[in-house]
Symmetry: C2
Subunit: 155 residues, 2 copies
Amino acid sequence: MLAEQPSAIQGVRIVELKQIVDERGAVLHMLRRDSDLFTSFGEIYFSQVNQGVVKAWKRHRQATQHLAAPVGRVRLVIYDDRDDSSTKGHVEEIVLGRPDHYKLVRVPPRLWYGFQGIADQPSLLANCTDLAHDPNESEAVSPADNRIPFQWQAV
Amino acid sequence: MLAEQPSAIQGVRIVELKQIVDERGAVLHMLRRDSDLFTSFGEIYFSQVNQGVVKAWKRHRQATQHLAAPVGRVRLVIYDDRDDSSTKGHVEEIVLGRPDHYKLVRVPPRLWYGFQGIADQPSLLANCTDLAHDPNESEAVSPADNRIPFQWQAV
C-alpha cells in the first residue's frame, strides 16, 4: 500500500501511485478494482490542458472523479461549499505530475474542482469516473466566478 | 457511434475515438461502461514508451486489453497463433496516436501483442483491462523470439 497524504477537504483522498521506471520508459499505475479507492467504473477519458490554460469550475451531483497526471504537470484546485461538511469553505490546491507528484486524487461529488496546465508542454489529466458522462449530472461556472474564493494565476 | 475498422485478426476490434479539440487542449474519450466494447473493469494503467523502444511480446490467458495512445505515436503489433482461430498465423500492425489515429483497440486473450514508441518524444499507451494485473495470468517472450513472425525495426 502506497502512502496516503491528508487532505484539507472531507472525503477527498490523495494517494501516491506506483511508477516502475526503466530506460525504456515507465509503467504507471492508476486504479485497480481491488483498490479501496475504487467504487465502480463509469468511464475513463483524458483532458489535455495546454500551458497556462485553466479548465474550471465543475461540480458533479453524483459522480466521483479519480484524477492522475501521467504527462506534464497540473494544478488541481478543489473548493468545498457543502453545507453538511466539516471542511466547508476550505480550498485545496494539489500539484499533480511525474515524477515527484504522481498520485491519484479522489474527488467525491458536490465539490467544485478545476485544473490548470503548469508544464511548458501540454499536460494530460486522466479521469476515471464512476458514472459515464451525463451533462444533467454536473454544472459548470467560469474560472473567474466570485462565489469560489480562488484566483487562478498566469503561469 | 464512431467508425469501426476491420481487423485482420478474429476478435480484435478497432474503433475510432472521439476527440473534442479546442485552443485550450482536448477532451479525449477512451472507454465507457455503456460501450459495446466494455466487458468489466479490472485496471487502468499507462505505459510510457520512449522513442524507438519495443515492449514485446506478451500474451494473456484470460484478460482482455483496451489500448489507446493519447500522447505520441505507437506501433501496436498483434500475432494470432490460436489453434481455434480462423485467422491463425496472421500478424496485424496498427498505428495509434493523435490526431489521425486516435482509436481504441480491443485485444482479446490468447493473442501475442507488443508495441513500439515511434514518436520523437515519449509516447503514452493507456490500457484499460478487464482483470487487474496478475503475473500468473500472462506470459512474455523477447522481442526477437523467432516463434513470432514479425521483425521490429529501428525508428
